[in-house]
């Protein structure tokens, strides 16, 4: 979005549709009611990521800040603090491979390199077909079944490199585990 740094008048066309605005207003208001007049930003962000395909578009965040009557810079601080939230576009499915110690010793480097090869992308990148974004993650809390990864909200444990094609295919075709 090109902005004139001197004027920035209010009638600047914004890339938000009326439908977006309506959805956001409702989302914030519902959240406010659910939390007895306060707001849970984390819940709002999760809802937004689901709605906007795993990322938080800038104009959407700007509108949420305005609706929530909070500072855009502070909302930005909140969003960028949590590595699970992203302001840059991500694929349809986000793969989070645990890179913490227990998973590392039980084989996460092999899992990661296998995924790199299968998907043709590195950590932080999205496949050209827009299906998968590969990410490293800190501990997912299920070290008992290490090495582990998460795709969207599903966790996978006791992984070997051989399991990966099947898991990816299942996700691709929209099925669960």
């Amino acid at each position: 979005m090109e902005l004139d740094n001197v004027t920035r008048p209010a009638d600047q066309p914004q890339p938000l549709s009326d439908e977006d605005r309506c959805f956001l207003r409702e989302l914030v208001e519902t959240n406010r009611v659910d939390h007895h007049g306060r707001l849970s930003y984390m819940d709002i962000m999760f809802d937004l990521e689901h709605h906007y395909g795993n990322s938080l578009p800038g104009p959407v965040l700007g509108e949420v800040a305005r609706l929530a009557e909070t500072s855009p810079a502070q909302l930005n601080g909140f969003v960028t603090f949590y590595t699970m939230l992203s302001t840059t576009p991500r694929g349809k499915h986000v793969i989070r491979v645990c890179t913490s110690g227990p998973c590392h010793v039980s084989g996460s480097p092999a899992i990661l390199s296998s995924l790199r090869r299968l998907l043709g992308v590195d950590i932080g990148e999205t496949t050209p077909d827009g299906e998968f974004t590969l990410e490293g993650s800190s501990c997912l809390g299920i070290c008992g079944v290490s090495p582990v990864l998460m795709i969207d909200d599903d966790a996978y444990g006791n992984l070997t490199a051989d399991d990966l094609p099947r898991i990816l295919d299942a996700k691709r075709s929209g099925g669960a585990q």
Binding site: L3, N5, V6, T7, R8, P9, A10, Q12, Q14, G58, L61, G62, A65, R66, S71, P72, A73, Q74, L75, N76, G77, T80, F81, T83, T87
Partner: protein, 592 residues
């Protein structure tokens, strides 16, 4: 309720300090022991982010941050053990590991807290390698300020000043851990967010991470061009602060030396923004009188401070009709110079370069506003100018610091210069104009004129003490021949917000409000010399009121040159011509 006094031992001596006191305050105020700090800014930024103020507390496992830890009964504090000294040094080294080593060329090198602390604490080597793999990009989106995040030590002073003092919240910490930076919404840059360009963040930054966008090279270039007539105007608050840059005592009135130094730099005319401050009072004073008489929108709010204007446009766009349509003195000066003065002297306005010296960084933004090309529009038809030949009313804005830098570069011995006067006619001013530099000054100047114009009587006492002083919000009832004029003055945008919330709700009891963006008014502006004296604003204000008291004329409407410009050029205050040249309008920046 009486505060309990606690017995504390600091460095082996006994002190009694009130409960709730921090170790830092106990050491500094009660024991007179200096504890070094970097991120601490009393009452504004008390985060414990830098860990330079660590002290040893007997019985505590870890070193304590003196700025946060409160004293307890029987506490034994040591501020100068080898463990403490080593920890402080180590923390500085950690900060320096990723810090650019370009102190030679850094603008802030003479006033850098980080460099001073490293020297004070005896840091002689940095044991840690650089961990950041690449340099972070500059934020040069703003017309007023430039941020270099590589020099940032994440002390959060700027974040807290922006939020707590100015209530703008344009910046915050983004990211986390070692990847944290101070940033704007989505890294859009200061020029693309709510930032009002006040530069208070620059004043508190302990390193060179925030500086003004320098226009020194442009001004040198203009001065070296024989085809240009380069005219300089100086704001009221500059004269009481510029001396600090040359080692003169705080609160020195350096008006005469400043005029002499600017003349030595090669400016063709050394004029004074105070002239157009008097002009502003005429226009704004008559606007106020008009609104009161004709039942116009009240309260009327002053419009001299461009940071405040952008704040109003961003946060209070619904009540912009309360803001005076008068341009700021800087912009009035530019217009008048390129129209009235050019005509009077028979000079082609395209040859004139107007440079203004301001205590302000927001003025750099203001001069670029598209509506600030009045002289061009006024003359376009007459001179047959094409649209692409448009010129600004004010060409360059230098902060007080930049002006001082140019004087140093030219090798001028500022402190030993003989006093000189401003040039005529645009250098003539009154005491009413000088006090524009302090919070309450515009109000006082306007009252002096409004009273005499309304009552047609001479004012017995010119000093309106109620609107003077550094409190955030001041108010007064002024009796004008039986009519009570309710006025209020706010300095610092956090205070302005309080008054503006009232205005927005329709609950404001006032007729006239003065708002200045920076704490203390222009004398505390973001373009002023950076000072470590906590009383600096008081010293500068005293100098301003001394300057006012020493002026032969102290009421704007008695300025003979102002009277002449109305007689020869503008007609009456608020005339159609005056409206065309000296007034402006505002835009909604709320980005709905």
């Amino acid at each position: 309720m009486e505060t309990r006094m606690l017995n504390v031992k600091i460095n082996g001596r006994d002190y009694q300090v009130p409960e709730g006191t921090t170790i830092l305050k106990a050491a500094r105020e009660y024991a007179k022991i200096e504890v070094p700090t970097l991120c601490y800014l009393e009452g504004i930024s008390e985060e414990g982010a830098c860990a330079i103020c660590v002290v040893e507390v007997k019985g505590a496992r870890n070193l304590q941050r003196a700025c946060l830890a409160k004293v307890g009964e029987g506490m034994e504090v040591w501020t100068n053990t080898s463990r403490v000294r080593e920890a402080r040094k180590l923390n500085i080294e950690l900060l320096l590991a990723n810090h650019p080593k370009d102190c030679f060329t850094c603008e802030k090198n003479q006033i850098c807290d980080l460099r001073e602390l490293a020297a004070e604490l005896g840091v002689r080597e940095v044991k840690f390698p650089r961990t950041r793999t690449e340099w972070l990009p500059f934020d040069d989106t703003s017309l007023s300020l430039v941020r270099d995040p590589n020099k940032c030590v994440l002390c959060r002073r700027c974040v807290n000043v922006c939020a707590k003092v100015q209530s703008v919240y344009a910046i915050d910490i983004a990211g986390r851990g070692s990847n944290s930076t101070v940033s704007t919404f989505l890294d859009e840059g200061l020029g693309n967010v709510e930032c009002v360009n006040c530069g208070q963040c620059l004043l508190v930054c302990p390193t060179g991470a925030i500086t003004e966008r320098s226009e020194i090279p442009d001004v040198w270039k203009a001065l070296g061009n024989p085809d240009k007539i380069v005219v300089v105007e100086t704001a009221p608050a500059v004269r009481v602060a510029i001396g600090e840059e040359f080692g003169m005592p705080d609160g020195t009135q350096a008006t005469g030396k400043m005029a002499a130094a600017l003349r030595s730099l090669g400016f063709d005319k050394v004029f004074d923004t105070d002239f157009s401050a008097d002009l502003t009072i005429m226009e704004e004073g008559f606007e106020l009188i008009g609104r009161i008489k004709n039942g116009g929108t009240l309260p009327l709010i002053t419009s001299c401070s461009p940071g405040w204007i952008k704040f109003a446009e961003t946060f209070f766009p619904k009540v912009l009709d309360h803001v005076s349509s008068c341009k700021s003195p800087q912009q009035m000066f530019g217009t008048v110079t390129k129209t009235y003065w050019a005509e009077k002297m028979g000079i082609d306005p395209r040859k004139i370069v107007v440079v203004s010296i301001m205590p302000c960084t927001a003025k750099k933004f203001e001069k670029e506003r598209p509506e600030m090309k009045t002289a061009f529009h006024h003359l376009q038809e007459k001179l047959g100018l094409k649209d692409e030949e448009a010129f600004n009313d004010v060409d360059y804005v230098l902060t007080t610091r930049e002006a001082a830098q140019m004087i140093r570069e030219a090798g001028i011995e500022f402190a030993s210069l003989p006093d000189e006067d401003f040039d005529k006619p645009l250098g003539e001013s009154t005491g009413a104009a000088v006090i524009f530099g302090a919070t309450g000054g515009v109000m006082e100047a306007a009252l002096r004129t409004a009273y005499e114009v309304i009552t047609k009587k001479s004012l017995a006492k010119l000093d309106f003490e109620d609107v003077r002083g550094l409190e955030g919000i001041k108010s007064a009832d002024v009796d004008i021949d039986g009519m009570t004029l309710k006025v209020a003055v706010a300095n610092g945008l956090g205070n302005a917000r309080v008054l503006m919330d009232q205005v927005q709700k329709g609950e404001s009891p006032y007729h006239f409000i003065e708002i200045m963006c920076c704490p203390g008014g222009c004398l505390g502006g973001g373009g002023q010399p950076i000072s470590h004296n906590p009383d600096i604003k008081k010293r500068r204000a005293e100098a301003i009121y001394r300057e006012d008291a020493g002026k032969p004329i102290r009421k704007s409407h008695e300025n003979p040159e102002v009277q002449e410009i109305y007689k020869d050029f503008l007609g009456e205050p608020n005339s159609e011509k005056a409206h065309h040249l000296l007034h402006t309008d505002y835009c909604d920046r709320s980005c709905k």
